[in-house]
């Protein structure tokens, strides 16, 4: 009798909710954002299909496309490895050695993010007018984008458990071997993530390469749009660019692999001792100092020179203040929306990898390589043909920002979710309410990374130009729009206040990004 009663009481215990409830909800959210991300691709395909195969062959198989392909490949082939090696060297010097003023140098490495890529280019073209072409494009790209790869590497170096390296050394392996076989493999995710981010920027960047007079797909597409409008040639070049992005993404996924990077074990990682540089202190300081000179001193010098020569006349506050307010508003709302939209696919990528997840990740990521103008064209076409009231509204502009910067948010979020131990999430999920469990464990642990991602997105929006030009409601004039208008008219002095303001507006975001990476490293 007693036994029967016990069994009944056991049956009466409410079953915990199904474990897959959280992931299924997250999957639905990721499918929705993934499908929305496909809009620009659908647009390119639609245009390609309606153009006819002969037109496609005529437009794509031309020497000009070959030249662009060569230029873009050369840019990627040089900038990515050089950036990775430099970022690794800087991160190691700053995080692992007794280099004087390490904290100062860590700020210096992130500071170039406060200077928009096209302002770097503007500074270099004013500083050395004869310096253009591939060399200039490579140099300015490295200076402008190096923080994107430095930050994740430095954060990961701080996180690595020193016990791993010490154990490896105690096994008779010299420090260089330990670095190559124990440290470097654990930096792979950070290196690949950072390289992908830079690669996508290189494919999509417009202003930097126009000012260094180096043709890429993005510059030619924009030039064609401005001269002949939204024609088949423009759209098909966009298609080639989409293809390049997918190749880059595939390469990154393949090289990244499916390794485990979170520290194994329950206790806190011990703090480490820094290596002594000794006689290498001065060469190390020279290397860091050179980067600071090239990436910060040149833009600062150029800006100050134009500001000084322009005098009080260039400070037209009746134009400047509205531009400043509009930029700040768009930046904050765009960054928040984009980070939230990236969360589902970031979680799926780390926690529930599958073929569908890979497809969704590809759908979310490819769009980051599209120039703003391709996304803008797609949204213009869709809104004009489907629902005209949406055309040139803040909503459609923010939607464009989400599409453009979602891959940027995804990289940081993916890394920080990967660092959050899955065991915590599983333990919390076993208690029921999976969504709440994921929120209270993984998402909270990944919060510093999410903040860093939002900052990265904000940096992008602050300086976004082409999509804003096409999609913003009438009367919108952001700082980037004003800056580009003056630069195009070669009125470099009038452009200087806007450049300065963009830099100042980016400073808090850089501080946030640096702090987020710091916390990520210490977590």
């Amino acid at each position: 009798m007693t036994v029967t009663t016990d069994l009944q009481s056991i049956r009466a215990i409410p079953k915990p909710r199904a474990r897959w409830e959280g992931p299924s909800f997250i999957l639905c959210a990721a499918v929705v954002t993934g499908l929305l991300s496909l809009l620009p691709l659908a647009f390119v395909l639609y245009v390609a299909l309606t153009s006819g195969w002969q037109a496609i062959a005529d437009l794509v198989l031309r020497p000009k496309v070959g030249t662009l392909l060569l230029n873009t490949s050369a840019l990627l082939a040089i900038v990515l490895p050089v950036s990775a090696v430099l970022a690794l060297a800087f991160a190691w010097l700053i995080e692992r050695t007794d280099i004087p003023f390490a904290r100062f140098w860590s700020w210096i490495m992130v500071a170039p993010l406060a200077v928009p890529a096209f302002v770097h280019s503007y500074a270099w073209s004013a500083f050395a007018p004869r310096f253009h072409g591939l060399g200039a494009a490579v140099l300015v790209s490295i200076l402008a984008y190096l923080p994107f790869i430095y930050l994740p590497i430095a954060a990961q170096l701080r996180r690595l458990d020193p016990a791993l390296e010490e154990t490896a050394q105690s096994m008779g392996k010299s420090p260089p071997i330990v670095f190559l076989r124990v440290v470097l493999p654990q930096l792979r995710l950070a290196i690949m993530g950072g390289a992908l981010l830079i690669g996508l920027h290189l494919l999509a960047e417009y202003g930097l390469f126009v000012l260094t007079r180096f043709d890429t797909f993005a510059t030619v597409i924009v030039d064609q749009f401005q001269s002949v409008g939204n024609g088949p040639s423009t759209n098909l070049l966009g298609g080639v660019l989409v293809l390049l992005c997918l190749i880059l993404f595939g390469l990154e996924t393949r090289l990244r692999g499916r390794e485990r990077y979170a520290r194994v074990g329950a206790g806190a990682a011990r703090s480490r001792r820094r290596s002594t540089l000794g006689r290498w202190t001065w060469p190390a300081l020279t290397l860091c100092g050179s980067f600071a000179l090239l990436s910060l001193a040149v833009p600062a010098w150029t800006l100050l020179r134009w500001l000084a020569s322009g005098g009080a006349e260039i400070w037209r506050f009746d134009f400047i203040l509205p531009a400043l307010g509009q930029t700040a508003l768009l930046t904050l709302s765009g960054a928040a929306l984009t980070t939230m939209a990236a969360l589902p696919i970031a979680w799926l990528t780390v926690r529930a990898p599958s073929r569908l997840q890979k497809l969704l990740e590809a759908a979310h990521s490819y769009v980051g390589a599209l120039p703003g103008i391709i996304i803008a064209l797609a949204l213009v076409t869709v809104t004009v043909n489907v629902y005209l009231p949406l055309y040139q509204t803040v909503a459609i502009l923010l939607f464009a920002y989400v599409l453009m910067f979602l891959p940027r948010a995804l990289v940081g979020l993916r890394t920080s979710i990967a660092q959050a131990p899955v065991e915590l999430e599983r333990a919390a999920t076993s208690l029921g309410r999976p969504l709440s469990a994921i929120w209270h464990t993984t998402i909270r642990l990944a919060a510093p990374g999410a903040l860093a991602s939002a900052a990265l997105v904000g940096l992008g929006i602050t300086t976004e130009l082409t999509a804003t030009l096409m999609l913003a409601p009438n009367g919108t004039r952001t700082l980037a729009m004003r800056f580009w208008a003056h630069t195009s008219e070669l009125d470099l002095a009038m452009a200087a206040p806007y450049a300065l303001l963009m830099v100042l507006l980016s400073v808090p975001l850089v501080v946030l990004l640096h702090g987020g990476a710091d916390r990520m490293g210490q977590a």
Partner: protein, 341 residues
């Protein structure tokens, strides 16, 4: 044989270890035990070469290690949670420690896995797919693969649950004995230290408080602090006369002669509880404050007139109840502590 002579290390104003002198005999298991912050881990790091001593010397088999970098010391280091490389499989972790990729590498990995009690089918697993105990076994196999002159184990069982901890301790002891490798294990767990050690070193506040065979340290420690650290201790004041110490528990035989006042150490297991008085020697009365059933025995908390603190005693006398008056008898002799507490 590892020898430390006058080794000191400080971090800024903080003296981590001071004037350490330790000998770890070849092929023996030395355990360094002490509370948190007593300098145990610093000592391991000095031996493994990750820290340099400010003073003193460290020699291994007669060779000074002062200028030898960690990777040339041939001293294996097993970290608290194994420190397995997360990007490598079990086989790769073990193979990493082998001096050179020999042709019998795979066979040796199989052999090492068998020695630590793991099936060879685990070779391809990643560390995060293993339990805590399995990770520690792989870490031990990896350290053995190195064929070190000395193995350092930094609280290797602390992350394991109690049952697994004992099994692991027994396994590690067997494996080290069979391999004939000298080892130094660091722990803050006294029972683990007493069970594992051939040679025990007690550290307190960065200094060696006592060292020697575990049984000697437990029965006849040099200080009251060491006595208390190694287990429950009853320390009584007494007047020593003619080989007896006269205490509140009565006259107790002690390991000292002469006449003086001294502190006498008794272990609770030397006290026998009886509901009725048996005989007349070494008998004191006490009151049972509480009792806790433990299956084969009872744990009694008793108050004894003249003692500041109640005493915990494990007894098989199951007829004793709370508030009963019981009679205590002291078995064996008390240890006269060299210092006055």
């Amino acid at each position: 044989m590892l020898q430390l002579v006058g080794v000191s290390k400080s971090y800024g104003d903080q003296q981590a270890v001071s004037d350490i002198g330790i000998v770890a005999p070849a092929g023996r298991r030395t355990v360094i035990v002490g509370p948190s912050g007593s300098g145990k881990t610093t000592l391991l790091r000095l031996i493994s070469g990750f820290e340099r001593p400010d003073d003193g010397s460290i020699t291994l088999d007669g060779q000074p290690l002062d200028s030898v970098p960690p990777h040339q010391r041939n001293i294996a280091y097993v970290a608290q949670e194994g420190a397995l490389f997360p990007h490598m499989s079990v086989a790769d972790n073990i193979g990493f420690a082998m001096p050179r990729r020999a042709t019998d590498c795979l066979a040796r990995i199989d052999d090492l896995l068998a020695r630590v009690g793991l099936p060879t089918s685990m070779k391809s697993r990643r560390p995060h797919e293993l339990s805590g105990g399995q990770q520690q076994r792989v870490a031990l196999a990896r350290a053995l693969a190195q064929q070190p002159a000395l193995m350092l184990l930094d609280e290797p069982f602390s992350a394991l649950d109690a049952g697994l901890r004992k099994n692991m301790r027994d396994m590690v002891e067997t494996v080290l004995r069979e391999a004939g490798i000298a080892s130094i294990l660091v722990t803050h767990d006294q029972s683990e230290a007493l069970a594992f050690a051939d040679h025990l070193v007690v550290m307190q506040a960065g200094r060696v408080a006592d060292a020697g065979p575990p049984q000697r340290l437990y029965d006849r420690p040099n200080t009251a602090a060491t006595a208390r650290f190694l287990g429950p201790a009853i320390i009584l004041d007494g007047d020593i006369r003619d080989g007896l110490a006269h205490t509140v528990l009565g006259a107790i035989r002690v390991d000292a002669t002469g006449s003086r006042r001294a502190s006498i150490l008794l272990r609770p297991e030397q006290l026998t509880v009886s509901p009725v008085q048996v005989g007349t020697s070494q008998i004191a009365e006490a009151t049972v404050l509480s009792r806790l059933y433990q299956g084969a025995s009872w744990r009694l908390k008793i108050a004894c007139p003249g003692l500041d603190q109640p005493i915990d005693i494990v007894t098989s006398a199951h007829h004793v109840a709370t508030a009963d008056t019981v009679h205590l008898r002291v078995d064996g002799e008390g240890h006269v502590l060299p210092e006055k507490t």
